[in-house]
Symmetry: D2
Subunit: 342 residues, 4 copies
């Protein structure tokens, strides 16, 4: 059947097996002829040879204008690493009506539930209490909860209200927290529609008992939470860094935690893996997580589910509905490091 659409699959650093459960893999195979490069990037010669017939490209293959010129049938490019990188000429793709897509919300559910648990952990001292009991220093009665506070009803601030922030906000509903959101990319009405109050960064930091940071790194916001900003936070505030280390001034962050003024959790570090002798490993009042809140098998499978569902729609002539569309202007501003593996 020579007419079946040609689908190039070049998912490094992912593999097809990691992102597709068997039933999703089957749906993908039913869509067309798959040419798959796993474990290594697809060879340039092969890409160039196949592009003239390709209708779908799944992967982070370099797609400068010259290659788009060679791909007259191409209808969609799916980034399955889930951060838009400068590998594509986004404006040219748009001009040709090629969908450039990424299932960016794949990790949201995994990160959100971890973030909530870590926030309650900080408020209630769960990990610290386990450590105390293991070292024989636990207290009982009211003394056991000195410094603890109820997470339910506590004022919450969210910095960055994309997929992660919204998913977290949904989990908060039964806790009835008043929620303020800082997100300079969003209109107030979008934030209010999620039962949250739009606010400036300073207001969020100064008035929230629990602060979640989900902001992406852009060319403009590196280190935007620094010494001044940590100084704005309330004594005893809990600060959860869940997106990228580069959005905070990391030394200022650790100083604020070490001083005892705030408690914190972080899933990200300026250099990963963290050095064996990095003093961050010994900081008190800091819940440590080695960049692991997102990387669940179930989250990776989401990548495949969302990609295949949208590929199905596109091949039927319908618009995609599950993945995020790349905006050329935004893609140019993002500064995430590529994922090293998985």
């Amino acid at each position: 059947m020579p007419d079946r659409p040609l689908i190039l699959i070049d998912p490094l650093p992912r593999t097809l097996d990691v992102i597709c459960e068997p039933d999703v893999r089957k749906r993908l195979e039913a869509l067309g002829r798959l040419v798959i490069s796993e474990g290594k990037p697809m060879a340039d010669a092969e890409v160039d040879r196949l592009l003239p017939e390709a209708e779908i490209l799944i992967g982070q293959t370099a797609m400068p204008k010259a290659r788009l010129d060679r791909a007259p049938k191409l209808r969609a490019i799916f980034n399955v690493e889930t951060n838009f990188l400068p590998n594509i000429d986004y404006r040219e793709a748009q001009a040709r009506g090629i969908w450039v897509l990424s299932p960016t919300s794949s990790f949201a559910a995994a990160v959100a539930e971890s973030s909530l648990a870590m926030a309650i952990d900080l408020a209630r001292g769960i990990t610290a209490a386990d450590r105390a009991m293991r070292s024989g220093t636990e207290l009982y009665g009211l003394a056991a909860n000195e410094g603890s506070f109820m997470f339910a009803g506590a004022s919450v601030g969210i910095v960055g209200f994309g997929d992660l922030g919204r998913q977290l906000r949904a989990l908060l509903v039964p806790f009835r927290n008043p929620v303020k959101v800082y997100d300079p990319w969003l209109p107030a009405d979008v934030i209010r529609a999620a039962d949250a109050e739009p606010a400036s960064l300073d207001e969020v930091l100064a008035t929230s008992r629990v602060i979640f940071v989900f902001a992406s790194v852009t060319t403009e916001n590196q280190g935007f939470i620094g010494q001044r900003e940590f100084g704005l936070m309330q004594p005893g505030a809990c600060f959860l860094l869940m997106s990228r280390a580069a959005v905070v001034d990391f030394p200022a962050f650790l100083d604020a935690v070490r001083s005892g003024r705030i408690r914190a959790a972080t899933d990200v570090f300026p250099i990963e893996p963290v050095a064996k002798d990095d003093p961050v490993r010994k900081v008190e009042n800091l819940l440590l997580s080695a960049h692991r809140t997102g990387g669940m098998k179930a989250a990776l499978h989401q990548i495949g589910r969302m990609t295949v569902a949208d590929a199905e729609l596109i091949l039927k002539g319908l618009p995609p509905v599950m993945c995020r569309r790349a905006d050329p202007a935004i893609a140019a501003r993002l500064r995430s490091m590529p994922v090293a593996s998985t």
Copy 2:
């Protein structure tokens, strides 16, 4: 104003300050003449002298028939330790139309949020990952989440569906867990009304990925979760013991955890404080909490709020709506140990 109602306050092991925030204390003082014994039980002679005029008794004062006979104006007794104890002749109190009440749900919100955080902690390995990072043994990438599973959507079992169980169930809503409940004291319709499925104990244990135990201890159920029951659980199941140590066979519980078949969290221990050399302190796969999930200041303040609100209603001739009413038959079956302090 000699007609103001006489209110006896004998709250040991609580104190009035611990259970009443200032505004609630003021409301209590506005209700009548308070006679308060703090720090020690009210002297028998004083109790006997005051009972003929007393309209409200707040505390765990012994109230056998002989004393009820001396208290013709008594309208309500509030147990503020929050477990009905055998200190009252419940049948005689009922026969006289005396409300016997306790704000038993005071601790529900505090316990529920801790329970949820601990459950996600077990599912996602949060405390264990912090420990690993402190000891320099953390992994990265997919390996960091070996054995983890998404709490969202995981099958949940709840054993005991009183205030704690229901509060926890409400927190689960955004996670969309299928929930089964075992509670032999409740009709199926009550469980279904909370979007949960009634089930036998064995079914709950055998089919749930995460099991919460909130059951009270009665004369009939001591150690009802033992070796056979732990054997029914799925490999990798998470078991959270949040009510009383006596509902499980504790050695069988620890064996199941040590074997690696299940992960667990416990807030309660057969003997508290736990001995410094108790081997429970070293068990892997066990999240340790030294009977601290309930004892928050905010929870203790709930005791005062609920007690005073119901006292206000009763003195207006209205029925109480916030506290639980003692059922003589049930009160006789409960076997909670009195609280040592606070």
Copy 3:
């Protein structure tokens, strides 16, 4: 099996068939020996003869002290008409530890969904627009909605926050209405726990765009919403009378509607059936409902389900959890008319 509990069933104006679906009837039959009087009240002689052995009484049989004295085994009386009437010596029943119960929430779901639909109908002019179209006077475009307002987000007031009010409040959640509640029998914390604001009657009336009245009639509140109160309402307010006609001054109510100041819906009338020539039938801006919002088969079946579930618990020595317990003081104040049939 002579030891099976004796259960007297005397449900007039209900019949057992009307309140029990087949599976519930079977559960009832499994509980004990049933003696049933349907279609007419149980003969006094039979009641007197059976009471010495009776353990459960389902029905509105007269139970003065003399009869309670004859019923040493009686554990529970279920009023299945669902209004506590002065047919029982409530204090004596309480003194004997006899549960006096009624499945008062049986009608709540049926009334609540009708109330919501009627409120949206008034806000959006649904029934009026149907009438206009049937008479050929409908308008199009914006003119079609002159005077309409969005129910979503409109300020709501609830007068009486028992089963009906709470059920209605639950249905409002997705509409995000700010909700104020007036209920002098409830503490502020109970109202706040339902995400509503406690307020005085005047404040509720003066600040709400949509007002629901679910209050019961007592010896004290007859006609408590009268000319002064209708005058407090905002022009264009919608007033829904869903409980008992006697809580409003009915002529003042109709005057307020006729004047065009408010729109209204009523399910109740001072005299029912309403006279054929009663001018109420022609009032504009009034949505008419002939006491039919509660009387659904499904609601009547709830009576049986709740009664049988609690009878099952009581015969196992457990406290009832589904029905409301009669409070002697409250029962003495209620002034509902008995239901004429069904």
Copy 4:
């Protein structure tokens, strides 16, 4: 300030006043230099003269390729009639990176609350009971509800799961209806994420007690619910036509209602205004609404709020988040009639 962006406003059949509340109008004026044509379309000559400088176009101005060629600075076109019409060369606009947007969800809240109220009206007979009481034919007791059923818990089917369908689905949450959705443009996962079950059209029609139709008209689906489909519905099913008359075979629809097999509500008619002598005006079991469920002031104001919020983002170089983006392929398929006024 010659650099302020030029914004062309050509909103016929809307006017700026109708779609903008004063605060939104102020925000719009703050964005740039407005050139407004209200009450009549902007003259061709003026459009042609202004396009070379225009950055934003709000309105349904014809924008063929030749005009896009004249508009090198144009960043966005907002359709404020809210249906994508064939007035734009969508492919060329996309190729130039011009956002083509429409606040299509503006009417969703207004339509959804009306739809819910009408569905409960059909289930519970509300409008019919008002009519009966006005004509003196009302019944009382159980007879008053002959043929009624509880909306809560009834099986619901939704045909078309765009903005309207999703908004309606959100309102159903407290009613706990099992919900099936037919929408051939959506992946199953999107439907499941809204707690609904994807199903074929036939399955939705055959298994639902209440069926809501929100489907748009396309070149492919005109009259897709016809005699065969009405025959699939359950006796007593309620059918609500809320989108466009052309999606049903209207005579077959009325036949099904007249036969008494189904009850229905419709907000749309093949020809509007409906002829004075159209027999549809007399059909029993049909709730009539003269295309008025959406046209609320508050909904029209939504158009302005969403448009201005997205224009603000775009002029800051950010992607729009509130309006729907036109997909060239989809825009070509839609067949809505233009709105005549407002």
